[in-house]
């Protein structure tokens, strides 16, 4: 089956800087894709190329099997929600939403009806006659969404759509975005640097760094079994422990040995362990450590440990809120076997 | 296609903008008596004539003194008024603001006429000082508007912090507010200076024998086309450009982004 939107061998340069390096990506119909990465990772450049605002240096963008690489924004079946919303300040909300239909030459009465309907979908039916500056940030964001959706794009592109909102509103709009997406069934491609937002929204998360795709897949898989060191530390927190594969199908590390399969002996690797996979232990091969820092987080305590065998490795553990550790105290921990991820160095 | 039209259009506008300046400067080097084609030169005789004309050189000095003193005064008064109106809620504040900026909307000619009639009624003789008074009238609202527009709320908090640490009002003003608004103050002073330097009609109405450069150039001009006018005009242009470059390099480079 071919994807609704496909990107192949995409490269882009700004002068000498390579901003995108051999990117390949597929977006399925009706899916919610999130491009996640730090600033400078190339995610916004990729979105601009999908929207037609930038011509890639090389590579191919197809939508519904049609080559769109060189098509201008107006002629491709995408619509963009801009980070600053770019609502036209001199037009009413209704005229903003109807703008795309007007450009298509659709008559006034049809336009008004469709604009009203789409405003109702985003929950802003009453704002039709208002001016953008009379609306709150969250409302403007919904108008921008309605304006882009009303032209029925095959793919909706969202550039950090929640970036301008405060945290509480962001979480609320996040839920709303997801429900609107389910209602209209359009494929959404959403750029963010907020990994919580990515996990909450995505069917398919794409982790980017330095112009490359580090990892992509369902968020559960990307979080649970990250493919690279970058993914393990950027999407959620992980402790990385250096080691190498020894002959007997296991990994030797300063903190002991752990099972590993399918890797040639001598390969240098790193173990990635999520804080929730570090637990208190009393078994004989438990790891002895000293508590260096305790931060109370409400439902749990984030505890940093210095293992006796390798104090330079800061192991981060998520321990029960009622546990009662203080810095300087000795502690015994172990790693949950199922939570150990082995990454090639 | 669009590019080609744009290049032609922009070229035409640049030509329109530069044509008179180029002609002015070119014929300041004219070797003969009239600044019209054909060009005979280059010659520096007209520059020599300007520098040997005591009326022009003294007018140049007058213009400089008037520009510096009136701009300093206008900036000081404008700054104090902006601070008073931005920081304290005075009764009738909106009205006072309107009153102080009112001269911005009145032609220089009318301001000059008013002062001429006023000084005449009071028996005050024409002088450079009378013209200077007029220059402060035109530049004060400008300085006020520039400084006022730059007085934000976060600066009010910094002033509060200074007061909290024991500074008296005049210390707040001199040690905190003025340094913080340095770019705005510098811009006010510089803009006022260029306006005063270039002002004609007020000086024309309010001075008699000892006068400013634009009025002296005007007197020269009444004798008809003369390469000496080209020379003095080119010199003023050169000085102004040097000052503008200095301004560009100091005020705008240091302003935080």
């Amino acid at each position: 089956m071919t994807a609704l939107l496909a990107v192949e061998r995409l490269c882009h340069r700004f002068g000498a800087a390579k901003v995108l390096n051999n990117v390949a990506l597929g977006v399925e119909a009706g899916s919610y894709t999130v491009l996640l990465g730090p600033s400078g990772s190339g995610k916004t450049t990729l979105l601009s190329i999908l929207g037609g605002f930038l011509q890639p240096s090389s590579g191919l963008v197809t939508i519904r099997g049609v080559d769109c690489t060189a098509l201008p924004p107006a002629r491709r079946p995408t619509a963009t929600v801009f980070q600053d919303y770019a609502l036209f300040p001199h037009m009413s909300v209704g005229s903003n939403v109807g703008f795309g239909l007007r450009m298509k030459g659709i008559g006034r009465s049809v336009r008004v009806k469709q604009a009203r309907d789409m405003l109702a979908v985003v929950g802003l039916a009453e704002a039709f006659d208002k001016k953008p500056h009379e609306l709150s940030g969250g409302q403007r964001q919904r108008v921008a969404l309605a304006r882009a959706l009303v032209v029925e794009p095959a793919v909706l592109l969202l550039d950090e759509p929640l970036g301008a909102l405060d945290l509480k509103l962001r979480r609320q709009m996040q839920d709303e975005l997801k429900s609107i997406q389910r209602k209209v069934g359009t494929a959404f491609v959403h750029v963010t640097h907020d990994q919580e937002e990515a996990m909450a929204l995505a069917d398919h998360v794409v982790v980017m760094n330095h112009g490359r795709i580090e990892d992509q897949g369902p968020p559960e898989r990307v979080y649970g079994r990250p493919a690279t060191r970058f993914t393990a530390t950027f999407m959620g927190e992980s402790t990385l422990i250096p080691g190498h594969v020894s002959g007997e199908g296991r990994v030797e590390t300063p903190l002991g040995h752990f099972p590993a399969t399918g890797l040639a002996a001598g390969t240098p690797v790193r173990l990635a362990i999520r804080p929730e996979h570090v637990r208190l232990s009393s078994t004989p091969d438990a790891i002895a450590a000293v508590v260096t820092d305790v931060v109370y987080q409400g439902s749990f305590k984030r505890v940093t440990l210095a293992p006796a065998a390798a104090p330079e490795i800061a192991v981060v553990a998520r321990l029960p809120a009622e546990s009662n550790f203080r810095p300087g105290q000795p502690i015994l921990v172990e790693f949950v076997p199922a939570g150990i991820v082995i990454l090639k160095d | 296609m669009v590019r080609a039209v744009a290049v032609v259009y922009a070229g035409a506008i640049y030509a329109f903008i530069f044509l008179p300046v180029l002609v002015l400067v070119l014929f300041s080097f004219q070797g003969t008596l009239f600044p019209i084609p054909p060009f005979n030169g280059p010659s520096l005789r007209w520059y020599e004539a300007v520098l040997n004309d005591p009326r022009l050189t003294s007018a140049l000095g007058n213009s400089f003194v008037v520009a510096v003193t009136t701009s300093g005064l206008a900036t000081l008064l404008g700054f104090l008024a902006a601070w008073g109106l931005a920081r304290f809620e005075l009764p009738g504040g909106v009205l006072l603001r309107g009153l102080i900026t009112l001269p911005l909307t009145v032609s220089y000619l009318i301001i000059g006429m008013g002062l001429l009639v006023f000084f005449n009624a009071l028996g005050v003789p024409k002088s450079l000082i009378a013209a200077g008074v007029g220059h402060v009238v035109i530049n004060l609202p400008l300085c006020f508007a520039i400084v006022y527009s730059q007085m934000g709320e976060h600066q009010a908090n910094i002033e509060r912090a200074a007061r909290d640490l024991g500074a008296a009002e005049w210390q707040v003003l001199a040690l905190v507010t003025a340094p913080m608004l340095w770019p705005a103050l510098f811009a006010s002073f510089f803009l006022s200076m260029t306006f005063s330097w270039d002002e004609f009609v007020i000086s024309f109405l309010l001075t008699r024998f000892d006068t400013t450069l634009p009025v002296e150039i005007w007197n020269l001009l009444r004798a008809g086309l003369n390469p000496k006018t080209n020379a003095v005009g080119s010199m003023v242009f050169g000085i102004s450009i040097v000052l503008a470059i200095v301004f560009e390099l100091t005020a705008f480079r240091r302003r935080p982004q």
Partner: protein, 278 residues
């Protein structure tokens, strides 16, 4: 607010206020009073004002002024807007500052000299006539200097520079996303400009137009040097009263009429001209 703070506030605005009252408001009032004491008739009467509306040559100066000023404003906007647009959108970002500084370089010539330079260009034996005759396009020199056309050219030269600055600033202030959003929603470049960019830059155009109007209608030098005395504009009429005839009352009355005209323009544009604090 404490009493001492109120006192500090008043103390800081008093000098500016006093200066404005003494050297702007008071002269204006004196001028108003004097305008009501006609030099010839004597006593207290509105003769100077009635004379203005009765005497066609005075009245003509005002209509000339309005015609020239409105024409200059329109011509300058029409010439400057495309130029500012080219600078803001087609010139590469890192050259824009230089291009703009070049475009306003002649600002730095003295204002009296600027008009004089145009006289050099447009004079009977000036460079324009000289070139046109050499090219065989003209048999004998055209009369350009000392006409209304020369006044309009001289004014437009200055105001094209001024408006280029204000319109350029306005265009740069617009988020590029407005244009992108319009394109994304199917608007071609022309419709994106008409529906989005132009309406959003209208306030800047209005500010520039008002500045042009106020500065041009009160200017004496440009019409005096370039237009000559063939037709009088208001400032020339005013200066004539004090120069030749020493008629301060009539000059005062004419100044007040000119000021009323400017005030009407100000009220018409007031909504665009607010001073905002950062």
């Amino acid at each position: 607010m404490s009493l001492s703070a109120v006192r500090a506030g008043w103390a800081s605005i008093t000098p500016a206020l006093a200066w404005t009252l003494l050297f702007f408001v008071a002269p204006f009032l004196v001028m108003a009073v004097i305008s009501l004491h006609p030099q010839e008739a004597g006593g207290f009467s509105a003769a100077n004002y009635t004379q203005f509306f009765a005497n066609p040559s005075y009245w003509r100066a005002l209509t000339n002024s309005l015609e020239v000023t409105l024409l200059v404003t329109a011509v300058s906007i029409v010439l400057a807007y495309p130029f500012a647009w080219i600078l803001a959108t087609l010139v590469p970002e890192r050259w824009q500052r230089l291009a703009l500084m070049l475009a306003v370089l002649p600002f730095w010539t003295s204002y009296v000299v600027r008009s004089y330079s145009w006289l050099l260009v447009l004079a009977e034996k000036g460079i324009v006539n000289d070139t046109l005759i050499r090219l065989g396009l003209l048999a004998e020199p055209a009369q350009i200097a000392n006409t209304r056309l020369a006044t309009i050219i001289g004014f437009s030269h200055f105001f094209v520079m001024l408006l280029t600055l204000t319109i350029y600033a306005n265009l740069k202030q617009l988020s590029p996303n407005y244009r992108k959003a319009a394109a994304d929603l199917g608007a071609g470049p022309v419709r994106a400009f008409l529906h989005v960019v132009l309406p959003l830059t209208l306030p800047g155009i209005m500010v520039g137009a008002f500045l042009t109007f106020v500065l041009a209608i009160g200017d004496y030098i440009t019409p005096q040097i370039l237009g000559g005395n063939n037709e009088l504009l208001m400032p020339q009429l005013i200066m004539m009263q004090i120069g030749r005839r020493g008629d301060f009352p009539l000059a005062s009355a004419l100044s007040i009429i000119l000021m009323v005209v400017v005030s009407i323009a100000y009220v018409a544009c007031a909504r665009w001209l607010k001073i905002e604090r950062a």
